[in-house]
Amino acid sequence: MIVIEDNDLLAFRHGDNHAMKKVFDTYHQQIYIYAFNLLRDQHEAEDVVAQALEALWRNRSSINNTHHLGSYLYTLTKHLSIDVLRKKKRSTTYITAIEGNEDSYLAEEETSIYDRLDAVVKATLMEKMLEEIGRMAPQRKKVMQLLLASKSVVEIARSMRVGIKSVYTHKYEAFKQIRHILRMK
């Protein structure tokens, strides 16, 4: 888990490119997941993320602290995504509230409290999972990545040149690892 330190932030505010890369590495997955959940389109989500990061870079000298940085990125990502949705649905019906908070387009009563909590937690969950997968042993990681790309066990076995039983074992172990993280006592 990459963490932005105070001196990283200071360097970032002064325009240091390495610091920018670090900020990118820290945040781009989270906000991509956030944007993707709203837009359901890979390219649109990528574009929104790039715009949010560029705006952050452009205004780097105004960023106060890491909490500010994160919340600024999230707010930008959310509003840019909503902008995209509004432009897409221009001539048809209204946009249903994707997440309920002060910007909800539905009355509060209509959006379940748990839906809102869900939206907020989802992004972190996804990020944590992807991070965990990134840390897995190479074979196991490869199996997981191909599974996430909707490949079948047979296809995976073929492309990795291993037996199907092997793929199942990797899958089982990977799920066990993930289940371990998700357990709530």
């Binding site: 790039a50 715009q51 870079w57 221009r90 909590l117 996430l148 289940r179």
Partner: protein, 413 residues
């Protein structure tokens, strides 16, 4: 009872748990919440189901980090992608544009911040800062901001601004105890403001809102706002720091709740509609407390406060939605909405008005984002013709004989 701050807190605790950053005390707090109700428990159980998480992960797919980095680079350094000759032209144009924009922003001579009670007719969304600078919000790029006395005001989307506390590069804050900003909107747009205390205000077209940022940021001893026009308030709850909204006809005091205030100069009364919580309305002489679902009325000449039931809270809020709502409205009410939004003078009706039915205009919902021409096209019905003449709408009843002539006229436009 769950509210916004609970959601934020629980989400934060879950995040910390997932990142193994949770303290023993925080873990206890989270477990307490989980066990507080069966709904909480089932939410957590469902949310953390591995199969569900995997399914969602699959939907997200793999994140193309390299592609996103390339896109970021392209936006940050666009010139590196162009040929040398084009670079020169683009650089020159960009420099000129930069200079022009700079002039536009600073050329407005500083004036004293307007008291919002004076009429503010603007033709672009603007913010007047405490020092008198007038900022044209249209000329700002998304993500850009202005620093004003320890606050950073940033445009986060085409219709939204947010405030963050600001320190300079040495970590010093230059906050003044008073920083009054005024947001004014022309017709045809709704903006929302995220205030530093977590409150949110949606401002309707043709309205103005004045607010003092520093007290709002600290919410230490109450804060004041001035409104002309219409706004929907979602004020964060703070029992120790009431928030008051003043209008020309009356004042509303709240501790934290959601309500709509409508007081346009053209209106015959101030109307306040309460959705949740409780608010106190005063006209300077009397005070009345409102309960959720109630609506208060203060007329112009007669100063008494009338309290009634808001029969349709969804309707009260419908202006905050990105579409026009035609349910329960007759044709005149529908056209008035359009007149107001597009800044047109009036509507001319051909054919007797009560025989004209709105029908299912656009399916009952028409997007506010449509241009005037797109709107006219969307509205056309078999029995109802819509067109524009100068600064007016024309709505005509179409009989069979007229139909072909109307179509001919329409096609010619």
């Amino acid at each position: 009872m769950i509210n916004n701050s609970t959601i934020a807190r629980i989400a934060q605790l879950i995040t910390k748990y997932l990142r193994n950053e949770i303290s023993a005390k925080e873990k206890e707090e989270l477990e307490k919440w989980i066990n507080a109700s069966p709904n909480n428990r089932s939410f957590i159980v469902e949310r953390m189901k591995p199969e569900r998480v995997m399914r969602e992960l699959e939907q997200v797919g793999l994140i193309d980090t390299e592609a996103i980095w390339q896109k970021v680079q392209k936006l940050i350094q666009p010139h590196s992608v162009l040929r040398i000759r084009t670079i020169y032209a683009v650089t020159v144009a960009a420099t000129i544009a930069l200079v022009v924009v700079k002039i536009v922003i600073t050329i407005s001579t500083p004036k004293t911040p307007l008291a919002v009670h004076s009429p503010v007719e603007v033709n672009c969304p603007q913010i007047i800062l405490d020092d008198g600078r007038v900022i044209n919000l249209d000329s700002m790029n998304i993500g850009d901001g202005i620093v004003c006395n320890g606050w950073w005001m940033t445009k986060t989307s085409s219709y939204h601004i947010a405030y963050y506390p600001h320190t300079d590069l040495n970590g010093k804050s230059h906050k003044k105890h008073k920083e009054v900003n005024q947001l004014s909107l022309p017709h045809g747009m709704i903006w929302s403001i995220s205030l530093p205390d977590g409150s949110n205000v949606q401002l309707n077209a043709g309205s103005s809102l004045s607010y003092d940022i520093t007290p709002l940021g600290e919410r230490s001893h109450g804060t004041k706002m001035l409104l002309e026009g219409e706004a929907f308030f979602d004020i964060r709850h703070d029992a120790t720091a009431p928030c008051s909204i003043s209008t020309s006809k009356g004042t509303i005091v709240v501790l934290g709740t959601r309500f709509d205030v409508r007081n346009y100069r053209a209106d015959s009364a101030l109307i306040v509609s309460l959705l949740t919580g409780s608010i106190v309305i005063s006209n300077g002489l009397k005070k009345v407390e409102l309960k959720p679902g109630q609506q208060a009325n203060i007329k112009k000449r007669n100063d008494s406060i009338h309290v009634g039931v808001d029969a349709d809270t969804a309707l009260t809020r419908s202006w905050t939605f990105p579409y026009f709502d035609f349910t329960h409205k007759n044709i005149i009410q529908v056209m008035k909405q359009f007149e107001k939004w597009y800044g047109l003078e009036s509507t001319v009706y051909r054919g007797s008005v009560d025989t004209l039915t709105p029908g299912l205009l656009g399916g009952g919902h028409v997007s506010r984002e449509l241009s005037l021409m797109e709107l006219v096209q969307t509205l056309q019905q078999d029995d109802l013709g819509f067109s524009l003449k100068g600064n007016k709408f024309i709505v005509s009843q179409i009989t069979r004989a007229v139909l072909s002539r109307h179509q001919l006229i329409y096609n010619r436009e």
